[in-house]
């Protein structure tokens, strides 16, 4: 079956996918708490918990760091089960083969993620935590994408993009160019798509940097914001780093900070600024697209101007990023309070997901537009052929 083939929406499947995505977000939250509380190794064994089958570990022993780590394991098991069900469901009931494989990919990823988490415990390797955190973000994006792809909204995006469809496509309605050039190829749209893709990739890079920072287990490498160790760009010389370590009094058993960790946090700040600028421009571009659309076409009967969705999405994205910047600053000002740092992780996951899903929608629009154009061309061709046939017969 081709990618553009029409598939019927299954609301039960859709809502189960949404539930799986929400459970994954909760799992990332608890995972964030595990790292924020430095509790990753509070349960030294895996897959057992203190020698117990992990599902039978007595609740009165869930104390201190064990509470976070054990909850994380149990919720991970639940997400694993839900993902397995989702994959089987997609395989059996979804008519799109690529969705079958997406389900399989989710299943494999959740298994790999579970094993990676276990190895992090048994091998005592901090570096595995970086991969574990990064794959968690990708897995969340994947579950959200599956939820999107099984939604009626997405199906409508597949079946049509003009006013006759109830789907709220982000493609622009209005008169088609006579030369057949696609409206989705307008320079403003292209710029917007490029910006969204660039910002999403930057967010992903940012999340890898963040995971590397958190899994150094060194606390805050820079304890002030917006300055860094009192300067615009901090001194990372050996003497300065020794001074920072001497000044730092931390309750938890954190590793001493290094020059590399300071540079990593500065990179995190710089990339954050780049993302903010990118998304700010995306908002500007989407508003410009909206103005251009209003100038040439009336609103559709269902959703008004289609570019309004893009404007709202970009504004929501910008809002999330501003919140994320605020949480990043609060993480420093509260000396990495566990709940604040975890909220920073969660909003980061949402920021990545919004960008990734927007990219998927933009890609879908491009494919759908090409499909519509080809269908339209075929239809015109058949109409012309049918119209020409009686004349040929009459001549005979």
């Amino acid at each position: 079956m081709k990618a553009n083939a029409v598939s019927k929406s299954n609301p039960w499947l859709y809502w189960f996918a949404v539930l799986t995505a929400l459970a994954t977000l909760a799992l990332i939250g608890i995972g964030g708490l595990v790292t924020s509380h430095e509790a990753g190794l509070s349960v030294p064994d895996w897959p057992t918990t203190y020698g117990y089958n992990m599902f039978l570990f007595p609740i009165n022993k869930w104390l201190g760091g064990i509470f976070y780590e054990h909850s994380h394991r149990l919720l991970a098991a639940l997400v694993g089960l839900m993902t397995t069900i989702l994959a089987v469901w997609l395989w059996l009931k979804d008519s799109r083969p690529w969705m079958h494989w997406l389900g399989v990919a989710a299943f494999l990823l959740v298994v790999a993620q579970g094993v990676l988490g276990g190895l992090r415990v048994t091998l005592h390797m901090d570096s595995l935590g970086i991969y574990h955190a990064t794959i968690a973000q990708l897995f969340f994006v994947l579950t959200c994408a599956i939820a999107l792809f099984t939604s009626r909204w997405w199906m409508n995006l597949q079946t049509g993009r003009t006013g006759s469809s109830p789907g709220r496509s982000l493609a622009k309605p209005g008169p088609q160019p006579a030369d057949g050039a696609m409206e989705t190829s307008r320079p403003a749209d292209k710029s917007l798509r490029t910006l969204v893709l660039t910002a999403t990739l930057l967010v992903f890079v940012q999340l890898i940097i963040a995971a590397a920072m958190r899994h150094q287990h060194a606390g805050l490498a820079i304890s002030d914001f917006p300055l860094a160790h009192g300067k615009f760009w901090p001194d990372t010389g050996a003497e300065a780093v020794a001074r920072y370590n001497a000044e730092r009094v931390s309750i938890n058993a954190e590793n001493p900070i290094t020059a590399f960790q300071i540079e990593l946090q500065m990179a995190h700040r710089v990339v954050a600024l780049a993302i903010l600028i990118c998304v700010g421009i995306a908002v500007f571009c989407s508003r410009r697209c909206q103005s251009a659309e209003r100038a040439v076409a009336p609103p559709t009967h269902v959703s008004g101007y289609e570019s309004t969705v893009a404007v709202r999405l970009s504004l929501f994205w910008l809002g999330l990023i501003l919140l994320q910047v605020g949480l990043g600053a609060a993480t420093i000002w509260t000396n990495k309070a566990a709940d604040v740092a975890t909220a920073h992780v969660l909003v980061g996951a949402l920021v990545l997901t919004i960008g990734a899903l927007w990219c998927a929608i933009a890609f879908r629009q491009t494919v759908a537009a090409v499909y519509d154009r080809r269908t339209e061309a075929r239809r015109s061709q058949s109409a012309a052929t049918i119209g020409a046939q009686p004349a040929v017969t009459a001549n005979k």
């Binding site: 509790a39 030294p44 201190g64 058993a253």
Partner: protein, 239 residues
Amino acid sequence: MKSGRVLEKTVLFIVAGLIGAGSIASAADITGVITLKGTPPAEKEITPLMENPDCAKMHTTTPTTHFYVVGAKGELADVVVSLKGVTGKSTGASAPPAVLDQKGCLYTPTILAIQTGQKLVVKNSDPCVHNVHATPAVPGNPESNQVQMPGGADLNFVYAQPEMFLRFKCDVHPWMFAWVSVFDSPCFCVSGSDGKFVIKNVPPGKYTVEAAHRKLGTQTQDVEVKDGDVTANFAFAIK
């Protein structure tokens, strides 16, 4: 004939005594006082400890961190003093075990020094579970993470390689940590609350005395041990 033998024995005894006395006299102590100039950063209250019901009941007031244990006149405790470059002299296998206890959800002591091959016994005096997580950074010293139940058996550790400030932590109670320095000789000590230290029975020779503080870094001083005790004072400063 008999008196000759007695005289011979007496001479031998005197010679042996002189040699023995000579060798005792040649081994000296390196002593000193370590001080801190300046005001160290304020210690923090370990509030999470008091939020844990098991741990809180063992304290009447909120304990604080103690990175800087400083006396009224600037005497600095918890400085690990050793002789730099003295290796291969470990007597750890025959030395009595060193003890690290978990008491009141805190490690006691926080700073400890042992020899390579010396047994380190980790106890759990608390009525709650701890995980004893040793995180060495030097190859040859294995990382380990073991459960220690309340009233559970002592855990024993032996390290083969010298390492400064090898961290022990508890992930169940992340504010619990201790730093164990491992030396390849018996020539080391940790400064007391009066800032004083003594490295005993140092054979004659030239040495570099190294004083290392977990937060303040390292200072060195060259000394020569001859007949008598040697003094080497160190003054750290908050920059």
